[in-house]
């Protein structure tokens, strides 16, 4: 009989802890599928963040280090410089990369470190209970913006890809989403392209993934997926932001 489905080799036989409708499970699955398909299991080193994404090391059956909150790009720099032959990627959320770890991400990008950041943007601090993130949309209600994010006091949503695009060290930046099957297939191709970019030694790459967080958005999973298209993608347009082959 033809096999149509199997657990990826690089995925441990564990249950995801993520909430129903969360995008992290999809993104983790896409990463390990790409790793398997590109035969990178013995080459890959993952840097896990603080936040909902941190427990990826319970799921990924590859070498993994958990970094301090925001420091993923600096740690990945240290690893990649010592082991240039490995695939080194850091998995970071929006609080991690766009707030507390902006300096580390920005300067790794500016140095053109040949690493890849998988940047999960769900617009909130998920693990700590839904506080405002740098990527929270204007007027969006969170536990620390109870009457909606007010730009006058809380600033504007940060577009990381566009910020990094002006740096000469970056070579591949693309924003994708995981809210519907076509988008998920696209996201997987994008991750694969970013990894190929790194293996070619072609500088810094980053894949920004708009990801649903129904629990903290206080929406149903289906509404969350719709909201990404209807609202979130207006602020964070999907597509290639920069591609220097």
């Amino acid at each position: 009989m033809k096999q149509v489905y199997a657990r990826p080799k690089s995925l441990k036989p564990a249950h995801f802890h993520y909430c129903p409708g969360c995008g992290h499970g999809i993104i983790g699955r896409l990463i390990v599928e790409v790793i398997d398909e590109m035969d990178l299991r013995e080459k890959a080193i993952c840097v896990a963040p603080a936040g909902c994404g941190m427990l990826v090391y319970n799921y990924f059956d590859i070498d993994t280090l958990e970094s301090a909150h925001g420091r993923g790009a600096a740690v990945a720099t240290g690893i990649k410089r010592v082991r240039p032959e490995n695939l080194v990627f850091s998995y970071q959320g929006d609080g991690d990369l766009a707030a507390i770890g902006t300096a580390e991400g920005f300067h790794a990008a500016n140095r053109g470190e040949p690493i890849t950041i998988i940047f999960v943007n769900n617009g909130v601090y998920g693990m700590t209970g839904g506080q405002m993130a740098p990527t929270t949309l204007s007027e969006q209600v969170t536990t620390t913006t109870p009457s909606g994010r007010n730009a006058a006091t809380a600033g504007h949503p940060v577009r990381i890809c566009e910020v990094f695009a002006v740096l000469d060290g970056t070579t591949y930046l693309e924003r994708v989403a995981v809210n519907k099957p076509a988008a998920i297939i696209k996201a997987k191709k994008t991750i694969a392209k970013a990894f190929r970019n790194q293996l070619k030694g072609n500088g810094f790459s980053l894949v920004e993934i708009l990801s649903p967080c129904p629990t903290n958005w206080k929406m149903s999973p289906i509404d969350s997926c719709r909201w990404i298209d209807d609202v979130m993608a207006k602020q964070f347009p999907l597509g290639v932001i920069k591609d220097v082959p």
């Binding site: 013995e42 590859i62 993994t64 600096a74 740690v75 990945a76 720099t77 690893i79 082991r83």
Partner: protein, 352 residues
């Protein structure tokens, strides 16, 4: 050779292949030396965007299996504490240099010893310790660097070299003949890609309180082994001494000058100089207290190591203290006057 340059050269000779640092006075000469020397030797140098990035690059290089170090001075060390805590929790080796300057806050750029408590109590968050080495001369600094790397790898723990601005800037003749190529330590924890072996994870997050408790006790047992095996100190004219000065680093160097003067006047002063500030040489101080009643602590701070001396003495003896905080360097003659005043007060008290 300056202390900063000697430190850098010793590190390279000891097999340090990765240096990450951020400019701060008074240790810039070390960063500059490494910028030239490390790439020459085939290693990796990055001037990082911050102290925080530097220590995390060290963590990355260390988990990838390299001998890595970073250096800074007091304000920068505050920033590095996060990374040092993670290194300790992850059980990763690293050498971190602090050329201490006056503080708190921005302080100044003059030599000081005001980071003693930060260095010896772990410094960052959580239940951990680091070995703290305090060299007193440029030659000892050069000798201590390979030891620092060896201890870091043997125990898989960060090791702090606590110098000060003066030690970094001063020049003395120095020999590197004692430095041997690094020993091979088992590295069954490093991340290289899971080729032909199960995947590894290096982490410090242990949600399960039972697991975290076990991890804490495991670290504690390691720190106990350090306390048993790694205490280092120098005894200077202790045998016939009636008063013992306890001082470290460059402070001890100035004390030595003072003691030389006082010995000419037949004042029986000796010194115990801790070389490891943690683990602290408590036992030798306690044993000495069986014979000597008076201990004189000198620090270039308002008094931090004095707490360890007090703990070591367990209520025995009398403790005298003299401190010069704020980056002030006392002269040997100043110290000799203060020590002799305390010495005569003590002998007067003895006669009563």
């Amino acid at each position: 050779m300056s202390g900063n340059a000697a430190l850098g050269e010793a590190a390279v000779l000891a097999g340090c292949t990765c240096y990450f640092g951020y400019p701060i006075t008074p240790q810039n000469e070390l960063t500059e030396y490494m910028a030239k020397r490390v790439p020459e030797a085939g290693g990796i140098f990055i001037q990082s965007e911050s102290e925080i990035a530097a220590i995390n690059m060290v963590l990355g290089a260390s988990v990838a299996g390299a001998r890595a170090m970073t250096s800074s001075s007091s304000p920068g060390m505050s920033l590095k504490q996060e990374g040092i805590s993670y290194l300790a929790a992850d059980e990763l080796p690293a050498v971190v240099v602090n050329m201490v300057r006056g503080g708190p806050g921005m302080g100044n750029i003059s030599p000081a010893q005001s980071d003693y408590l930060q260095a010896t109590r772990g410094g960052g968050h959580g239940d951990y310790r680091t070995i703290v080495l305090a060299p007193g001369s440029v030659q000892e600094l050069a000798d201590i660097v390979p030891l620092a790397f060896d201890l870091a790898e043997a125990y898989r723990n960060p090791v702090i070299i606590l110098g000060d601005g003066m030690l970094g800037q001063m020049m003395e003749p120095v020999s590197f003949d004692n430095i041997k190529p690094p020993k091979e330590y088992p590295k069954d924890y490093i991340l290289t890609g899971a080729r032909g072996r199960p995947s590894r994870m290096v982490r410090s997050l242990l949600f399960d309180t039972k697991e975290e408790e076990e991890h804490n006790w495991k670290l504690f047992r390691k720190y106990q082994r350090m306390e048993q095996n790694e205490v280092r100190y120098e005894k200077y004219l202790v045998d016939d001494a009636e008063m013992i000065v306890v001082a470290y680093g460059i402070g001890a160097r100035i004390v030595k000058g003072a003691i030389k003067r006082l010995r000419q006047e037949n004042l029986k002063i000796g010194m115990i100089r801790p070389i490891t500030l943690w683990p602290f040489p408590a036992k030798i101080i306690r044993e000495t207290a069986n014979r000597v009643t008076d201990f004189f602590v000198f620090e270039m701070s308002t008094g931090q190591m004095i707490e360890d001396v007090r703990l070591a003495l367990e209520g025995k003896g009398h403790i005298h203290f003299y401190g010069r905080p704020g980056g002030v360097i006392p002269t040997p003659i100043e110290l000799s006057r203060v020590i002799s005043r305390h010495y005569y007060q003590q002998s007067h008290r003895g006669k009563k």
